[in-house]
Each structure stands twice: as C-alpha cells, then as structure tokens.
C-alpha cells in the first residue's frame, strides 16, 4: 500500500461481504458493505472499491439476496458519496449454459441500474473450476449493461424479479457448462456455433422479459 501510494498508482481495495455469514441477513450484510466501502477510502486511500456480496451456501453473487445487498449498497453509496465502486461476478453455472448467462445478466442489470461504475467478470462456475471462463460471458455482461443504462428503476426491479425466478431453483443442480477449450476454437479464438446458439437463446429470454437490446 505504501508503495502504491508513493508511486501515485490507481488503488483498488476489495472486500466481498458474505450473506449468511457473521453479519447475518440482507440488511445487516448491506450495513457491513457500506462500512467497508467507506473504509477502503479511509484506510487505503483507494481510488475505487471492488465489492462482491456472495451467498454463503451457494458461493454465488447472483442470488436474489446478494443482488439486493449489492443493489442497495451501491445505490446508497452513489447517492451519498462520490466513491467509485465495482462488483464481481460469480454465477453458479458454467460457460455455454443459458443459466450462466442469465445469472450474469441479472447482476449486470442490478449493477448498472444502481450506479455501479465497474463490472468485473465473469467468473463462471463460481470461479473455482479450471478453464471455465470465456469472453462470451463478459460480452453478455456488457450488452445487458448497455441495454439497462437509463431504464426506470421500477421496470428494472420488475424484470429482475422474473429473471431471478428463472434460475434460482437450480442452484443445487446448476449446469457445469464447458471449458474454454470446448467453448472456443482455440486456434482462432472463436466461440463455437453451439455457444453462439446458447447465447442467442439467453438473449431472447431477456427480450421476452422486457429488456431492449
């Protein structure tokens, strides 16, 4: 930290509050999230704070509860301070699955609408399985952010409620998805036709829910 400060570097200070952890429930965890946001700028003289409310049971940032913590915390920080905040993406499902893309989309909508400055991801398959992330998940995160920017908050909340319902029953049996080598032609770094079709399917579902790309 002393080196970064002495070198005039951009400093990112990260913490991931755990829903169901020591703090407890949704509102309690959001209180801790606000406190740790502020602490980043007191203790570390941070340029920005990287957030990531995560569910203790599912290891995911895309659950209903963790999205609410992220949305309320970021909106509150945006409303009452000039702090810059990012959020990390850890869906349950792996790449080349509709569930993974829908999970990432729900968080992208929450983050974009609540005033988040930086979306960081996507660590598919909870970020714990080797080679199970690809550029396609990040594309979805970006496309959904573009579509969500400027939407009415009430409409965002309505879509989010329907969107989360599509996958929240499947956390225990989330599809494992495929590795990068299986999702892409590695030589040309091009996604497979299969993944493109899965992506189109997820996009269609989002459009049916009311998101306009």
């Amino acid at each position: 930290m002393a080196h970064y400060q002495g070198n005039s570097d951009i400093i990112m200070d990260e913490q991931m509050p755990i829903f169901g952890g020591y703090a407890g429930g949704i509102e309690e965890t959001a209180i801790v999230d606000i406190a740790t946001h502020i602490n980043a700028f007191v203790m570390s003289n941070a340029s920005w704070h990287l957030d990531g409310p995560v569910h203790i049971r599912w290891g995911s940032t895309n659950t209903r509860e963790t999205l609410m913590i992220a949305g309320w915390t970021c909106a509150t920080i945006s409303e009452f301070t000039n702090m810059i905040s990012g959020n990390q993406y850890y869906p349950c499902a792996g790449p080349c699955t509709e569930m993974c893309l829908l999970e990432a989309s729900a968080q992208s909508m929450t983050d974009t609408s609540s005033g988040r400055e930086i979306l960081s991801g996507v660590a598919a398959a909870k970020g714990v399985v080797q080679d199970k992330t690809t550029g396609m998940e990040a594309r979805m995160m970006g496309e959904v952010a573009r579509a969500t920017a400027g939407m009415e908050i009430e409409e965002v909340n309505r879509i989010l409620d329907s969107l989360v319902k599509l996958y929240e029953k499947d956390y225990a049996n989330a599809p494992e998805g495929k590795t990068f080598q299986e999702c892409y032609d590695v030589a040309t770094v091009t996604p497979t036709d299969e993944y493109v079709k899965v992506y189109e399917g997820a996009r269609r579902k989002l459009e049916e829910l009311g998101l306009v790309f």
């Binding site: 209180i31 007191v42 989010l160």
Partner: protein, 201 residues
C-alpha cells in the same frame, strides 16, 4: 473533533499496533453481528424485496447505519489482534476527498472511469476476464485473448495461472514471482494480439 492529519496506511499501521486488543472470535461472533442487528433495528431497515432501491429515506438510513458501524466498531487487524478506530471527522475527510474519476489504460485503449448515479444513462466500465478463476498454463493466453477481442470489454481482470513451467506457483517460492510476471506478460501479449496493447489490466 478536528483531526491532526488525514488517515493513511502509515497511520493505520501505527494504530494497528496500539489499538484495543480483542480476539477474532469476539470480533466475528459478537462485535459485528450484534452491532449489525442493533443498527438494523435502530434505523428500521427493510429492503422490501427491492433489488434496486426506490426509497431515498431508507437509503439514507442505510448510509447512516453503515457509517455508524465503521465509526463505532472500527477495523479489526488480524495480524496484531487489535482494533483500529477512526474519528467521525477522519471518516468524512476521506469521503469528501475521493477521486471522482481516473483513467485506466493508455493511448486509444484508455477509458475514463467516472462516477455514475442511480439510473445513469451511461454504460458502466466492463472489466472482462476470469476474475481470479483458475486457468491452465496452456490456455492462459487464449482465454485472456477471448476477452480482449470483445468490444464490450473495456479493461481486463486476470485469472490465476495454475502452473508455470509445469510447477505450481507455491506462495513464498520463486515460482510465485515467475507466475505473477508471466501472467502479466501473457495478458499484455493477448492484448497486443487483439490490437489493444494499451488496454488496462
């Protein structure tokens, strides 16, 4: 109370050596959960199943609760088992003097990170990458190239290379340093191959 000077990492270090002693169990199992429940009740916090809030009064209460949590509990330093506390003025000093914008990356690939608001019409910055996920040595460069090739991606967040020259990057070993430097070089190469040599990592 007026503070003598702004808090920084040096002041934090000094306070972490002489703050009040406590155990991690007391901190984790008593201090934080009890204060969180107390503040939730004090400020009548109820998010009413909204993902993004529409109630500004409730948001203000959440801000006060979070501020009070930091002010009254402070920060537990696990290295010294001591609590670092700040005054109210020191916290406001930090809040009032944050960077409102900065640049990530260089040249044509640089992006401006600027404060956004609730319901903002501007798209946020997309930091694409494995975000700490484990990536094999062989696939490390192409995986990151897949992000750099996406126009929706503004900056890169890296994965973790699981081996370097076939050996695991055990913390404290020379392979750890080699892996970290190799990660940086391979991502830079991926960025250059995508025609975005200045993209921030």
């Amino acid at each position: 109370m007026t503070f003598t000077r702004s808090v920084d990492c040096f002041e934090f270090y000094d306070r972490a050596k002489k703050g009040q002693k406590t155990s991690q169990d007391d901190w984790d199992l008593m201090t934080i959960p009890m204060k969180a429940i107390e503040l939730k009740q004090k400020y009548n916090l109820d998010f009413k199943n909204e993902f993004v809030p529409t109630d500004k009064g409730m948001m203000e209460n959440l801000f006060k609760a979070g501020f009070e949590m930091l002010l009254e509990c402070g920060i537990f330093c696990t290295d010294t088992s001591r609590v670092v506390k700040y005054t109210e003025d020191e916290i406001w000093d930090a809040i009032n003097n944050v960077q409102k914008e900065f640049v990530l990356g260089t040249g044509r690939d640089a992006v401006n990170v600027r404060k956004r608001n609730v319901g903002d019409k501007r798209k946020p910055i997309v930091q694409g990458g494995p975000t700490g996920s484990p990536i094999s040595e062989d696939m490390f460069m192409p995986v990151h190239l897949s992000y750099a090739l996406e126009k929706e991606v503004d900056t890169i967040v890296n994965g973790v290379m699981m081996t370097v020259r076939g050996k695991p990057p055990i913390p404290g070993s020379p392979y750890e340093i080699l892996a970290a430097k190799t990660e940086g070089r391979l991502i830079k190469t991926a960025a250059a191959m995508a025609g975005r040599p200045g993209i921030a990592i």
